[in-house]
């Protein structure tokens, strides 16, 4: 890349014309990307939600050559990828991040980034399989990623909008509803985080048709589990205007 082309690409991406910058970059050779160009383009693409650039840079440069990318930037890129329907990317971001952090002592920030990347992966799966897979599958992915997080951070329903939406779609069907209730019973994996099951409960309560059904779900849940934090479930009951004592 000549200096001229390089500064043109940088200028376009700084001025928000990501598609121009991407078009220019595509004309160049594979090995032409340097540190400055790569990180400027990734950061601007994440800021301007330009998913094409993110996907191109990822598949052509970052992933095959295992280039280091900051965790914060990965989180932003994952957020863009999730809502621009590049649903395979978040899982790869997470894998990349984990590969780079194999032996590092975890700082609080690392934990946050890990949480965020895993959350987006779960969300991306829920979004991608909104209508196609059963609730059980989404729950399994959720348990695999979120439940195994070290430190067991609180998991809240509000952080999983796509998953909640997918739950609603699944619960519309009668057999799925039964399956959701069955999830309270036996679990495919040993659940480590005390916030996981209450999140499922709150998600189901958010979509039940009326207070009678909600009471039944709550009773079912109580039969199996006690002493779990039901903050989200209470909030959902209040928001929906049911009069149930939790």
């Amino acid at each position: 890349v000549t200096t001229d082309v390089r500064s043109r690409i940088l200028l376009s991406s700084l001025n928000g014309k990501m598609s121009d910058a991407l078009a220019l970059l595509r004309q160049q050779q594979q090995t032409s990307v340097d540190v400055e160009l790569l990180h400027t383009m990734l950061a601007r693409a994440a800021a301007l939600a330009h998913a094409d650039t993110i996907a191109y840079m990822w598949y052509q440069h970052v992933m095959p050559r295992r280039l280091p990318v900051e965790g914060r930037l990965l989180c932003e890129m994952a957020g863009v990828a999730l809502y621009q329907d590049r649903l395979f990317l978040p899982a790869q971001f997470l894998q990349h991040y984990q590969a780079m952090n194999r032996d590092r002592r975890t700082s609080p920030e690392d934990e946050l980034i890990e949480y965020e990347l895993r959350r987006i992966k779960v969300e991306a799966f829920a979004r991608g399989t909104m209508h196609s897979t059963a609730l059980r599958e989404k729950w399994k992915v959720f348990l695999q990623e979120m439940d195994t997080l070290p430190g067991q951070p609180p998991l809240r329903l509000r952080d999983f909008p796509q998953m909640t939406k997918a739950m609603g779609i699944a619960l519309m069907q009668q057999d799925e509803q039964a399956a959701a209730l069955a999830l309270f019973g036996r679990q495919p994996l040993v659940i480590k985080n005390e916030w996981s099951l209450p999140l499922l409960l709150a998600g189901v309560l958010w979509h039940v048709p009326g207070p009678a059904q909600a009471r039944r779900v709550l009773a079912e849940f109580r039969q199996s589990y006690r002493g779990l934090p039901l903050l989200d479930a209470e909030l959902v009951i209040k928001r929906r205007g049911f009069e149930i004592n939790t």
Binding site: R6, V35, E36, P68
Partner: protein, 489 residues
């Protein structure tokens, strides 16, 4: 009666006024003589204001008049009045002129506003008056304007360009281009940064701790000054020589310095022209080597002559082997490298034990890195295997340890090695025709062991044992073992 009263009151008022203005009163003299000092007290009571004097003080104006009447005072007061009038006049003139200027500005502004408004109304935004009345109908008719169409309108374009946006538009002048740095993959760059940091720290540490010897005289002035800065004001004892202690400290405290992706990406070898000779050499090699695979690390290791550095690199590699990618089948050179490492660490108990654990413990993940795999159909996954030569070297190392270092007992390890040799050996057909089959030793994990070993036939085992019995190294080692047993019993 009213009228009468009115007449009377008017005449009274008139008289009073007369008195006030001219201070002519038949009794004035008497008042004056009676209370000479009263005005002072009166003035103080009424805050010295003449206007707020009540009727009682009225006669004392006479005093004022007398005071005023004196020739010197008259001059003084007149001068004051004249000066005051001058100031007032000047002030008024200034105010008037500034007001006029302001008015002129206002006029000009109004004129220009009117002109602008006229322009706007005539050109771009001529909206019908009754727009509010037809609002809803308009909304229905209204369509999204075509973006391309808007672009074509030069007037709008021009106005659009004139408007400032809060988002900064960068131009070529704003751009400060840094030096071009090629992107490098995380693992190799981190390995370089880590090795450089470790060796730099070690060289400083060694020079600080050692008393000034002739080796230091070769060093540059800058390096010596850096060492002096560290030694200044501290008691430095010259007892070290434990490289593994240094390594442990460094690994614990400083290895994590260069792990964040940002730091790794921006890592650059500094200008090494002033460093000691060994460090200079290492920097050059690190710079030239891309250090992406274990093979490249082997090259780097092979070029190093210093024993200390070799030891450090050996210790480092054991802890950082994950930075190198695994080859699944073809890692013959890696096995050679393992052989070299074992050979080099023969003298150093600690490194030797670390590396031998790669063979002894099949769950050690470095096994996959160093040893070529044999695809075993019975478990359907690659199983690492080690050559007989390397294995005998390992055995020899343990026997050496048992013979020399009496601190620990290595009998268990030796016994385990021999039993592995006996159970896990198999024949590998050589691709070259002239050489016969060679013996290799499988290193399966516990869960796969019985399945894999079951596939080795008795005939194959027998051939293996025949080859083993002809191998001089093995036989010599076994003899040494039996001697040790005889000694200890």
């Amino acid at each position: 009666m009213h009228l009468k009263k009115g007449k009377r009151s008017i005449s009274t008022v008139w008289r009073l006024l007369w008195k006030r203005f001219y201070s002519v009163n038949s009794k004035t003299n008497m008042h004056f003589s009676r209370s000479r000092k009263k005005p002072v007290t009166n003035f103080t009571r009424t805050n010295g204001l003449l206007l707020s004097c009540n009727g009682d003080t009225f006669p004392y104006l006479r005093t004022l008049w007398r005071y005023f009447n004196a020739p010197g005072n008259l001059m003084f007061v007149t001068t004051n009045i004249v000066a005051f009038m001058g100031i007032v006049t000047y002030n008024t003139l200034v105010t008037i002129s500034s007001e006029r200027a302001f008015e002129e500005q206002m006029m000009a502004a109004q004129v220009s506003l009117a002109k602008q408004r006229e322009e706007l109304e005539t050109t771009a935004l001529s909206l019908p008056r009754d727009i509010e009345l037809r609002g809803e109908e308009d909304d229905i008719k209204w369509e999204q304007p075509d973006v391309a169409h808007v672009r074509e309108d030069p007037l709008v374009e021009e106005q659009n360009a004139k408007l400032d946006t809060p988002i900064k538009q960068y131009t070529l002048g704003d751009l400060i281009l840094n030096k071009r740095e090629n992107v490098t993959d995380y693992d190799s760059q981190r390995a370089k940064a880590s090795i450089f940091h470790m060796l730099y720290a070690y060289m400083l540490y060694r020079d600080v701790i050692q008393p000034t010897t002739m080796t230091q005289n070769n060093n540059s002035e800058e390096w010596r000054r850096e060492v002096e800065l560290l030694t200044k004001g501290k008691e430095v004892q010259g007892t070290h020589r434990r490289i593994d202690v240094f390594y442990d400290l460094w690994n614990k405290n400083f290895d994590k310095i260069v792990t964040s992706p940002e730091k790794v990406q921006n890592f650059q070898l500094p200008n090494w022209s002033k460093y000691p000779t060994i460090l200079k050499f290492i920097c050059t090699e690190l710079h030239d080597n891309s250090l992406k695979t274990l093979g490249e690390f082997k090259q780097f290791y092979g070029k190093v002559r210093s024993n200390e550095v070799k030891k450090l690199l050996g210790l480092w590699l054991y802890d950082h082997s994950f930075l190198f990618p695994h080859n699944i089948y073809d890692n013959r050179t890696e096995e050679d490298f393992y052989d070299i490492l074992i050979n080099d660490s023969m003298q150093d108990n600690r490194i030797f034990q670390k590396y031998s654990s790669i063979v002894m413990n099949p769950y050690n993940e470095r096994t996959q890195l160093f040893f070529p795999n044999v695809n075993s159909p019975s478990v359907n996954k690659p199983v690492p295997s080690i050559s007989l030569e390397t294995y005998t070297r390992l055995l020899k190392g343990y026997i050496n340890l048992q013979e020399t270092g009496c601190k620990y007992d290595y009998n268990d390890n030796i016994f385990k090695l021999i039993s592995i040799l006996k159970l896990n050996c198999f024949l590998q057909r050589n691709k070259k025709k002239h050489a016969g089959p060679t013996v290799r030793i499988l290193l399966p994990r516990d869960e796969d062991r019985s399945q894999i070993l079951g596939t080795i036939s008795q005939a194959e085992k027998r051939t293996c044992y025949q080859i083993l019995s002809k191998n001089r190294d093995v036989v010599a080692l076994l003899k040494r073992i039996s001697d040790i047993q005889a000694d200890s019993s």
